[in-house]
């Protein structure tokens, strides 16, 4: 079973191959073949994922680290101890992310094969999609920060290519797309700066970039549970059958509907690995389990043979960055520990000129990581790129962003949970940023008329929920919300695509009735915006399937019981509540602002439902709209089912009958327990009835309020205004929201304009005007003349005269030769050089003179 993990490199290799084929031979292939290559590459990564998933289940969720033979020493300079191998880490967290990426990615490939039909650069699009997938998988499966960064930059690059893909669209749409692409690229570069700094700091501090070393135990707590449960631990003599009990996995182990697989091979291997077991376990347990294997799923929990349950036997330099950080942070003042190579390490980290305490260093690292995350996961202050990137370009690229790339930041922070756990201050900042993002993006979503802009800001807002969850230490809840959100946000995006498609269709239909002769969209795309919700209304009867599924997505996003969003959002809220009230964390109190954000979510989503589907049609296009074809509605139905059931992935304990007894099927805390094997500081929270009721009441109240305002055909008044806009009392609130809180304008004022001005200033004024003109005229010419006068009048010596004349002649000779262009500039350059020489000499002499 263990060898199954060796397949891991394929998960990157396959989409890379797809990219190469489609990139180089794409133009020669026909559409069918291109999409076949793309989809096959993507679907096969999903198959690889299935293998990896079963590997983990078969090996007691113990992580594997897979080397790629040809990139063995990816970057290695032994003499300075720089060693960064190309290693993939297969553990429950990375496999969760991989599953998520490959599954959603494959669906998007399939959707794209139809949607992009007829595009002149069809093959290119698939090449980009495959490349995106490859980089995303490098990002989530890398075992060191540098690989994570390679993936991080790679997806940024692909997003640039995908967002700008339709740069050649007419009517300014292309320009908008290319601007959005550039905005995304630049915003992400700023985030990348944070990532790079975090990586450098980590390397400086720990001397390695590995997340965990191959021999390291990730979560000692879970290992103990496994060891004691699986084989009754140190009482070791227990008979094999005893090990097969249900409790054998410890209380928190998953109920194991997928568990019992082939445990034996791994058990035997682990035995052979462990010659000096702290927890003794004899080989016949493995054999006994071998006999059990296959007979019954509930039996066969023979448990692994565990060599080590913690890392105490490893020296400091044998640990990855997280474990090293924890050891350093545990040191007292002035204490040191052996690195294992003869040197020692203490709390104070030396940075050449200054020293910093390890706590400060960890805080810095985490803050830089947060900056990286704000870029990729679209948080304040770098979120501005996501709405543009999602509203404009192809729905496909929008989707792949919403569903995969933006999760990278959250993933990275969950991965670094050990560091965030140690850095109280950073966690607080994370929470504040998450909550602020959730609130402001939710507020902005309230005032948008573009159906996809609403969803885009909603995505930003929901990412804020996840980031805030990381801040309060609810890592499991963050991952849970990430997964459920992917389901219903994908549903809503595809649904909006269907709506836009239908309205556009209706518009053509209406148009053709009037003018039979032309039906091309280019002709009237200028005047009619099929994404504008003001042009919709009453689509409920025209598009029943879209309506029903969209409604499910809305209720899930709003967090209504029993839809997926209820469970995940509730877990975030409950965990913040626990952090605030029981642990007294300030971050927890901040996170309570998410209640307001949750209410906003319900409000703007219901506003959208009222505007798009309820009431009566407001335009002829909406009147003539019709349901989309089955290839678009079938994915909607599938995703609707997932949005309905997705929440049962992680049913909290103590919920009683509310779960319909489904915990018998899905188990309680399935996801959290599964993740706990690789996320050390994940904790499993209990159900908080009070929180659930409050958040439900808030959501329902917000929906009722939205219904009162926008319902019964009042969604848009006769002047094309939003009711909130029409009412003088609420107009400023709406206007501010509609103007997106002026974020883009503020950025324009604060950064972009000054930046351009600085560059222009440096180029025109400093380099040209100052150095070439002003400097030349006032300093050199005048100074030259002055010195010349000074020298010639009092000391009217022939030698000096001759030298000056000589220089003058030389200069004239030069300028004579160069009269045609830029005469005299060489002088400027020469004198500037001279000044540089003096500066360098003086500067270098200073320490000598002082010392």
């Amino acid at each position: 079973m263990q060898s199954l993990a060796l397949i891991a490199p394929l998960i990157i290799l396959l989409p890379s191959l797809g990219t190469i084929i489609n990139f180089f031979w794409g133009p020669k292939l026909n559409e069918r073949f291109s999409s076949l290559i793309g989809i096959t590459a993507s679907a096969s990564t999903f198959v690889v994922w299935l293998v990896l998933f079963s590997y983990l289940n078969g090996n007691y969720y113990q992580p594997a680290i897979v080397d790629l033979p040809i990139l063995d020493g990816w970057i290695r300079i032994p003499s300075v101890g720089l060693e960064i191998p190309w290693q993939q880490r297969i553990d429950t967290l990375s496999v969760t992310m991989m599953g998520f990426v490959t599954f959603v990615g494959t669906l998007i490939h399939i959707y794209a094969s139809g949607y992009m039909h007829g595009d002149p650069r069809y093959a290119r699009f698939f090449a980009y999609l495959n490349m995106f997938l490859a980089f995303m998988l490098i990002l989530v499966s890398g075992n060191n920060l540098l690989m994570l960064f390679v993936g991080w930059e790679g997806v940024g690059l692909c997003s640039y290519l995908l967002v700008g893909f339709w740069f050649d669209k007419k009517h300014g749409v292309g320009l908008k797309n290319s601007n959005a692409a550039r905005k995304a690229f630049v915003a992400n570069r700023i985030g990348d700066f944070g990532m790079l700094m975090a990586i450098f700091l980590a390397f400086w501090t720990f001397g390695t970039l590995d997340l965990y070393k191959p021999t390291e135990v990730t979560n000692p707590h879970m290992m103990e549970a496994l060891a004691s449960g699986g084989g009754h631990g140190e009482e070791g003599a227990a008979p094999a059958n005893g090990a097969a009990e249900e409790g054998g996995h410890g209380e928190e182990a998953p109920a194991g509907e997928e568990g019992a697989g082939d445990h034996t091979g791994s058990a035997a291997q682990l035995v052979s690995l462990a010659s000096d077991l702290p927890i003794d376990q004899e080989g016949d347990h493995g054999e006994a389990a071998a006999e059990d294997h296959g007979e019954s799923a509930s039996e066969g929990h023979a448990g692994p043979v565990i060599a080590y349950t913690d890392n105490t036997h490893l020296t400091f330099s044998q640990l990855g960055i997280f474990a090293q950080a924890e050891r350093l942070a545990q040191l007292g003042e002035g204490e040191t520990l052996e690195r294992g190579d003869g040197t020692t390490a203490g709390r104070m980290i030396n940075f050449g000129a200054f020293e910093l305490d390890i706590d400060t260093v960890i805080t810095l690292i985490t803050l830089f990581m947060l900056l990286g995350a704000t870029g990729k996961s679209a948080q304040i202050p770098l979120f501005v790129w996501l709405p543009d990137a999602m509203a404009g370009p192809t729905p496909v690229s929008a989707l792949i962003h919403a569903a995969t790339m933006v999760t990278a930041g959250v993933y990275m922070m969950v991965r670094a949970n050990s560091l965030f756990h140690l850095a109280e201050f950073s966690s607080l900042v994370v929470t504040i940023i998450g909550v602020l993002t959730a609130l402001s993006a939710g507020y902005v979503a309230m005032g948008q008329f573009d159906i996809k802009k609403v969803l885009a800001y909603s995505t930003v807002s929901q990412l804020g929920f996840m980031v805030a969850a990381v801040g309060v230490g609810a890592y499991g809840a963050a991952m849970f919300h990430m997964i459920t959100h992917a389901f219903f946000k994908a549903l809503l995006f595809l649904g909006s695509g269907s709506v836009i498609h239908g309205v556009e269709h209706g518009h053509h239909h209406a148009h053709e009735h009037k003018h039979d002769d032309h039906g091309h969209d280019e002709h009237h795309a200028e005047t009619f915006d099929p994404q504008d919700m003001r042009n919709m209304g009453g689509l409920r009867r025209k598009m029943p399937i879209t309506y029903a599924t969209y409604l499910i997505g809305t209720l899930a996003l709003a967090g209504l019981y029993p839809f997926a969003g209820f469970w995940s959002k509730d877990e975030i809220l409950a965990d913040s509540w626990v952090a605030a009230i029981q642990d007294g964390k300030f971050a927890g109190f901040v996170a309570l602002g998410l209640f307001v954000a949750a209410a906003l979510t319900a409000f703007y989503m219901w506003r959208q439902i009222e505007m798009v589907f309820h009431g009566s049609p407001r335009t002829e296009a909406a009147e003539q709209a019709s349901e989309s074809v089955w290839s678009m509605t079938v994915p909607l139905v599938i995703l609707a089912v997932l949005s309905l059931l997705g929440g049962f992935l992680n049913i909290p304990s103590g919920i009683g009958l509310f779960s319909f007894g489904l915990q018998g099927v899905f188990g309680e805390h399935t996801l959290s327990t599964w993740l706990e094997y690789s996320v050390v500081h994940l904790h499993v929270g209990a159900f908080q009835p009070l929180i659930a009721i409050v958040s439900l009441v808030l959501a329902v109240a917000a929906i009722i309020l939205a219904n009162r305002i926008y319902g019964s055909n009042k969604a848009i008044n006769s002047e094309g205004l939003d009711p909130l806009e029409a009412n003088p009392a609420s107009r400023p609130i709406f206007a501010l929201s509609n103007a997106r809180l002026y974020w883009d304008e503020i950025y324009g004022r604060l950064f972009i304009t000054p930046f351009n001005r600085t560059a222009a200033f440096l180029a025109n004024v400093v380099d040209m005007a100052f150095l070439h003109d002003y400097f030349h005229d006032s300093v050199i010419t005048k100074g030259f003349n002055g010195i010349g006068r000074l020298l010639s009048h009092p000391i009217d010596l022939g030698i000096i005269d001759g030298a000056v004349n000589g220089i003058g002649r030389l200069t004239r000779w030069i300028s004579g030769g160069l009269r045609r262009t830029q005469a005299g500039y060489v002088r400027v350059y020469a004198v500037a050089l001279l000044i540089g020489v003096v500066a360098v000499i003086v500067f270098m002499l200073l320490p000598v003179l002082q010392g």
């Binding site: 020493g73 450098f200 020489v837 000499i841």
Partner: protein, 501 residues
């Protein structure tokens, strides 16, 4: 003074550079005696010479010996620099053949000059004596002055050569003066002997230290001019813009290879203990740091507002000199000196491939009369010449420092070295300015891919130029994906007391 025996001269290890230098004279003769209709073969002879020298270098690689009575050193550092310089020369030859023909300047002496200059760069990398540094610098520079003015009847080209010559002569003088001062203080020009006598001077606190420091400063100035760091950079945009494009391409890498080789060799081998007070780092570190920081800032910011591709690449090359200067600053720390030198080598290799590639494409779209070098001329290139545009995109990403390209590998090592030397603020400036650099590099990509317009037909993209692009492209990607190729080659590089005195 003993007259060294022939065996002491150890001529074998000097062969790669000497062969190239002698070969150029033969090449001149060949060109003179070739019948007119066969003159085009000169270029191919030149290329063959480069290849032979390349092979000779490979044979010598990894040795660590001195030759010519201690004036010449052949170690891994030399070997690696030679390989980079020869690669640059080979790619430049490929770029030149058709370019010179279509601009009406196909004269055989061009290749002799190119090889002489390359030999100069190689001698600089092997210089173990301040006099050799100076002579090699002149051997590198003088052919470059002529080549810059190689386009007859073109005012800009003549202006470029003239400017370069005057300012270059000016800066060489500083180098000589600096060497003289150091000789005055130590009584020797041999780098090892300088190293040996510095300790005494510093400890005795004698006033000779002033000569040493001023001498070191002047050497930094002289070499800083060659590699175009702020504040000795002002000639760069004018000269780069005016010179024929293949010459600009070679100048932007060849002069840097020679300059940085000599700078690292002199500072790290001879002057590492030139300290004031109780510090570990030599006095030149702060200067180099400030120069590096200024170079990074000025180069990257001014590049943003350039509209001519050659001027933009000129400022970009200034900026890249700043990144290598970071490595030089890091090399001041005796504990990180060797790693920093390695990082500079890797950066130079990465930069060579990428920058030559970028110039190759600029050359491909340049018109015969020297126009067509505006950034606007890249508009729509992705449609007319998709392969060239894709390569250019990769070069731009590499210059920005996006992972899996050579540029990232180079930056990664340089930043790493800077951090290890404890120069955190410099590393921060480096990272921040490389963020800034994304602005002007991405603009080219935007023009090529995302702007409306008919693409240039790239008349200059002849098969030979295409080959140059492919080689640079392959180098850029290989070095990005398998940095180990470069790290293995530099494994044995040690500068600090590399050769026993």
């Amino acid at each position: 003074m003993d007259i060294p025996s022939f065996a002491d001269l150890n001529l074998g290890v000097t062969l790669p550079a000497v062969f190239l230098a002698l070969g150029t004279t033969v090449l001149l003769l060949i060109d003179a005696f070739l019948p007119k209709e066969r003159r085009h073969l000169t270029a191919w002879f030149a290329l063959a010479g480069v290849l032979v020298s390349f092979v000779l270098t490979l044979f010598n690689f990894g040795s660590s010996e001195t030759a010519l009575a201690g004036m010449f050193v052949a170690d891994s550092f030399t070997g690696f620099m030679n390989l980079v310089a020869l690669t640059a020369a080979a790619i430049t030859i490929l770029l030149s053949i058709d370019y010179l023909k279509r601009t009406g300047n196909a004269r055989g002496e061009f290749y002799s000059l190119l090889l002489l200059s390359t030999a100069g760069a190689m001698f600089m990398a092997s210089a173990n004596d301040l006099i050799v540094v100076f002579v090699a610098l002149e051997l590198l520079s003088i052919p470059l002055y002529i080549m810059a003015a190689f386009r007859l009847n073109n005012a800009k080209s003549e202006e470029s050569g003239m400017k370069y010559f005057i300012l270059g002569a000016f800066s060489s003088a500083f180098l000589v003066y600096g060497s003289a001062l150091i000789y005055g203080a130590t009584g020797t020009t041999n780098l090892q002997e300088i190293l040996a006598s510095i300790g005494g001077i510093v400890e005795a606190g004698s006033s000779a230290i002033f000569y040493l420091v001023i001498g070191a400063a002047l050497i930094v100035v002289g070499l800083g001019f060659k590699v175009a760091v702020v504040p000795f950079h002002m000639w760069t945009p004018d000269v780069y813009e005016g010179a024929p494009t293949p010459v600009t391409a070679f100048m932007s890498v060849g002069a840097k290879i020679g300059g940085f080789a000599a700078l690292l060799r002199v500072l790290v081998t001879a002057l590492p203990f030139l300290v004031a007070g109780q510090t570990v780092e030599p006095v030149w570190q702060n200067t180099i740091m400030i120069v590096a920081a200024l170079t990074l800032i000025v180069g990257n910011f001014v590049a943003i507002s350039q509209s001519n591709i050659k001027r933009m690449l000129a400022y970009s090359s200034i900026a890249h000199a700043g990144y290598i200067m970071m490595a030089v600053a890091a090399a001041a720390n005796p504990f990180t000196a060797d790693f920093a030198a390695r990082s500079a080598l890797i950066y130079l290799l990465a930069y060579t491939f990428t920058n030559l590639g970028a110039f190759a494409i600029a050359l491909a779209i340049e018109k015969d009369d020297g126009s067509g070098t505006d950034i606007k001329d890249f508009v729509g290139l992705a449609r007319s010449k998709p392969v060239l545009a894709a390569a250019m995109a990769v070069f731009m990403f590499s210059l920005t420092g996006i992972p899996l390209t050579a540029g990232f590998t180079g930056k990664w090592f340089v930043f790493q070295a800077t951090m290890q030397a404890g120069l955190v603020p410099l590393a921060v400036i480096g990272v921040l300015t490389s963020v800034v650099s994304a602005f002007y590099y991405v603009r080219i990509i935007v023009n090529m891919y995302l702007s409306d317009g008919e693409g240039d037909e790239a008349a200059g993209a002849t098969p030979l130029v295409n080959w140059a692009v492919y080689i640079s492209f392959a180098g850029t990607l290989l070095l990005g994906v398998f940095p180990i190729l470069a790290t293995n080659l530099t494994e044995t590089v040690t500068l600090l007391a590399s050769v026993a005195p």
